[in-house]
Amino acid sequence: MRPILDCDANATYSPDEQIRGVISSCLNSLGNPSSTHRGGQRARADIEEARATLRRVVGAGGADTVVFTSGATEANNMVIRGAAQRGGGLITSALEHPCVLAPVLQYQREGRSVVLVQPERDGLVSVESVVRHVTPETALVSIMLANNEVGSVNPIQEIAAAVRTIAPKAIVHTDAAQALGKIPCVFSLLGVDAMTLSAHKIGGLSGVGALVLRHGLELEPLIRGGAQEGKLRGGTENVLGINVFGKALELIEKEGSERFARMSHTRDLFETRLTAELSDVEFHARAVSRLPNTSSVYLAGIRADDLIVAMDLERILISSGAACSSGKPEPSHVLMAMGFDEEHTRSTIRVSFRADCDDAGVERLVASLSKAVTRMRSVPRAA
């Protein structure tokens, strides 16, 4: 049986061989980090090691706060609620992940002033479109660094700088869950107050994330309990998950920009080859700054959901937009926000490469896609 070809890294970047090797050694450190005795000491030390690695890899200073959370969803909820508690308007974009949109829209239902900035058709949130809505009373500006579906990379540095001039007290936050491991994510350079990260998007385990907070920024905990994580997040730490997160961070640090270049080569080869094989193909966000591993492809006349199944039967993993947690796929809110109609969104697939995908993998993907798309285009539609 052919090996599985995973071209859905944006859903989960499953741990590679190196990380799998490390996981077993991490099993020696499963004590309660709050224990005084040596059982806990090791776990505590390992968590702090991971925290230091994270600071180093994402360019956070020693005085900046790093809170480990149960994932990007919790981190985003924490910063949104923390900001909202200060009063004032909330600004985010229509491109965001549901874990930003849902809490923000809940505040809107409760009567809070909320602005959802619409992206351009190329998937970018422009500086002007954000700044237009900022007032001195703005409490939060939260714009994702890179979009998970189309890969567009927003000008966060410029947005942060522009917001500061109008609303110095606003919290500027970026959800960098999808950007980490694919483009440089340097907290100090981005100039934001808060940044969300996720472990399973870079080869760690799901169930772990982090919120990086600028030195001096104080937020209320979202989860109250013990004094863990500098009293910012109650609950015994996910020791194994945090350890593996640290190891995955070390790995992307070691690979440096070579990792990004490899992804970029793979993705570009894919787009060139697919265009040569198939007609009526369109790539989203291609003309703008984009994640190097992500390709959002419109295939005219194709039901994306069926194509996902057809490819899975070939043991190739791709997706239609974001991973669907409901079991009932809704049209992509990202593509809709970019101005595409429902038919277009339902004919769009997302291919997101791992750094270890080689040219042979791309050829296999293109060959299978071409075969399936050609077949599907020839099937008369019943409806």
Binding site: D305, D306, V309, A310, D312, L313, K328, P329, A382, A383
Partner: protein, 379 residues
């Protein structure tokens, strides 16, 4: 597995099959039986209806609900069958739900399972199967397919109590040639036995009801989805008013129970419905008796009859058995083919009450092979 082996003559290992898996015991066993053949299987649950949105609170739908899909998923995993939930809601709403409500409101009795089988299971599922690269579709229906030199024949399932061929009369020859009914050669008790032996989570699930998308009463559903209908009168043939009712869509021709008309010596049946005046006409069982009836929208299944009808042959007449409801064993009648779309049936000594809108399905005199079917016309 004679049924399957026969349908796919040479190498089943090379055949890729979509298995419709509702999460019930029948389709679970169908998947299991196919998995033993070595065929390449793809399990599919059809998401046809949003139960959360459309059902009353606390009601539990009878099949194809998210909980049933979990069962289907577990069964598929047991046999290493890749499994997907596929969204058919739009087709289902258009082809099944809307037609169901409209037919009721016209004073006729619909049979949504037939529309679901023909428009959803055997049209759209087949289209999806082709998209996936699969040549065949298999379902857990109690029915059988036999191949002869003339073509494909649709037969009742071996278990006559569970036979579902009635719902399949609109299958075309090309569809039959690519369809498998792995459980058609088994009885229901045998299927349950197999399920228990194999340890399927679905082995002891209760039978699904007739209309899967309705958890409460049909009438409440029609009222909710189709909008309220006005009250009207129960009347005798001569116009005598006997009482009042909540809308003609709540009644079916031939219905005896639930009329709530008291004080009459004989049992009272619904003999006609008039949606224009909101009248439900009632009478004795004899009032239901007709010399015969007309059936429209005919589908021809038996390959020989199909060829004759398609060739425009005139004057085709045949003694047949005709089944006029899903729970009905069939009565002998004479079929006269008017044209390829319309047939006239006349009873002999025996007769059955017919409900306009319901399917009349024609079998051979052995009451085994399904020859054709259509919809009973308004009298």
């Amino acid at each position: 597995m004679t049924n399957t082996a026969e349908a796919i003559s040479d190498s089943i290992e090379q055949t890729s099959i979509v298995v419709a898996m509702s999460g019930g015991v029948d389709s679970s066993v169908a998947a299991y039986l196919l998995s033993k053949t070595g065929a390449q299987l793809v399990g599919v649950s059809m998401q046809v209806w949003d139960y959360k949105k459309n059902s009353a609170e606390n009601s539990r739908a009878t099949c194809c609900s998210p909980a049933d899909f979990c069962d289907a998923r577990r069964v598929a995993a047991m046999f290493d069958i890749p499994f997907y939930v596929v969204d058919f809601e739009k087709t289902f709403e258009r082809e099944v739900i809307n037609r169901f409500v409209e037919t009721y409101q016209l004073g006729m009795t619909p049979n949504p399972c037939i529309d679901c089988n023909s428009k959803v299971k055997f049209r759209e599922l087949r289209e999806r199967a082709l998209s996936f690269g699969c040549s065949h579709v298999a379902t857990g229906h109690y029915a059988r397919i036999k191949k002869s030199e003339e073509g494909y024949h649709l037969l009742r399932g071996v278990d006559r109590d569970k036979d579902q061929s009635y719902f399949l009369y609109s299958c075309r020859q090309d569809e039959l040639s690519k369809t498998l009914f792995p459980i058609g050669d088994y009885t229901k008790p045998q299927i349950r036995e197999i399920a228990r032996e194999v340890g399927l989570v679905t082995a002891d699930k209760p039978e699904s009801q007739d209309i899967c998308f309705i958890a409460g009463s049909v009438q409440d559903f029609v009222t909710k989805i189709g909008g309220g209908r006005s009250r009207g009168d129960f009347v005798l043939k001569d116009g005598t008013k006997l009482g009042e009712h909540d809308g003609v869509h709540r009644f079916t021709v031939g219905q005896r129970k639930g009329l709530n008309i008291g004080g009459l010596a004989e049992p009272v049946y619904v003999v006609d419905l008039d949606p224009q005046t909101n009248k439900v006409i009632v009478g004795s069982r004899e009032d239901l008796k007709r010399e015969g009836f007309v059936v429209n929208e005919m589908h021809w299944v038996n390959p020989t009859l199909l060829k004759r009808v398609q060739a425009g042959e005139e004057g085709i007449e045949q003694e047949v058995v005709v089944q006029v409801r899903s729970r009905h064993s069939g009565v002998r009648a004479r079929m006269r083919v008017i044209n390829k779309d319309t047939c006239q049936f006349s009873w002999h000594e025996e007769w059955a009450a017919v409900s306009p809108g319901q399917a009349a399905v024609v079998y051979d005199l052995n009451n085994e092979e399904l020859l054709a079917g259509g919809r009973i016309a308004k009298m």
